[in-house]
């Protein structure tokens, strides 16, 4: 029971965190200037965007759930979770960020899911 809770937390919190960071960066807008000084200015702007902090909060929760689960569960159990993160990410991109996930992108994402699952199984 605990495991299910932590697994869902890893997927949901990890992906939600990245989605929020993505949203924060969309608020900043496309970066054109890649010189160090401009990048530092960009970082100083990002820390004032609330989505960035919500994202960092989610990522922290996800990270500690991962640590928690690793303390009492074998790593191989993480397989379905890692793959599900890509599906969750695509859904979040579609509904939270308003991205157009067409059939081609879905097909690619599902291939990535299968591939990641194989990689993690192959490591075990």
């Amino acid at each position: 029971m605990f495991e299910v809770l932590f697994f869902s937390l890893i997927v949901v919190a990890g992906t939600a965190g990245e989605l929020c960071v993505s949203r924060a960066m969309k608020e900043i807008g496309e970066v054109h200037d890649f010189r160090p000084a401009a990048l530092i200015k960009m970082l100083l702007r990002v820390v004032r965007v609330k989505w960035m902090w919500i994202g960092v909060g989610f990522m922290t929760v996800g990270f500690f759930s991962l640590l928690a689960i690793l303390s009492f569960e074998n790593v191989s159990f993480v397989v379905p979770v890692t793959a599900l993160g890509y599906v969750a990410g695509a859904l979040g991109g579609r509904f939270f960020l308003g991205e157009q996930v067409n059939w081609r992108r879905w097909a690619g994402i599902l291939l990535v899911c299968v591939g990641v699952t194989l990689v993690v199984i192959g490591k075990g």
């Binding site: 960071v21 960020l97 081609r104 992108r105 097909a107 994402i109 990535v112 591939g115 990641v116 192959g122």
Partner: protein, 156 residues
């Protein structure tokens, strides 16, 4: 449909197609930075921490904690790892400032291929056939995602 698209491209030879191409190029470049800097950073952090040894068995007083902390801070490998992970995160933020999350996330799965290559080339580890098969499937998936438009929101 492809005909009309073609003639459109001919009618506007520079600005639109060029900025389109530039968007693709800088997206690919930054994802490349991500998939190399991320695994390298994790690898170096892991190496650095292993050099320091098992932390939990060593600490029995605050001064020892400080000692371990100072050893961590004086490790060049760990600093390189941190720098590498920072590079990863800045590249990640930059690419997300214009590209779709549903494009960047699957594309960054190419990191699995980099990890396997590092494992075989640097450490002579044996990577199982299942794992290589998975990497081939990931590459296929990333190729398919890569053929979609990196940006589907905001100003075109």
């Amino acid at each position: 449909m492809s005909m009309s698209h073609h003639s459109e491209a001919l009618a506007v030879p520079d600005s639109q197609t060029q900025s389109h191409r530039r968007l693709h190029l800088k997206t690919y470049l930054l994802i490349l930075v991500m998939i190399i800097a991320g695994p390298l950073g994790n690898l170096m952090l892991g190496k650095g921490m292993k050099n320091i040894g098992k932390v939990t068995t060593k600490i029995s007083s605050p001064s020892e904690l400080l000692h371990v902390f100072l050893r961590i801070l004086s490790s060049g490998t760990i600093w390189l790892g941190i720098a590498s992970l920072l590079t990863f995160f800045v590249a990640y933020m930059l690419v997300l400032s214009w590209a779709d999350y549903s494009y960047v996330q699957p594309a960054s799965a190419m990191a699995y291929a980099v990890v396997a290559l590092l494992a075989t080339l640097l450490f002579g580890e044996v990577v199982s056939p299942i794992r290589w098969a998975g990497i081939v499937v990931i590459c296929l998936g990333v190729f398919v995602v890569g053929r979609t438009n990196p940006r589907t929101t905001g100003n075109p």
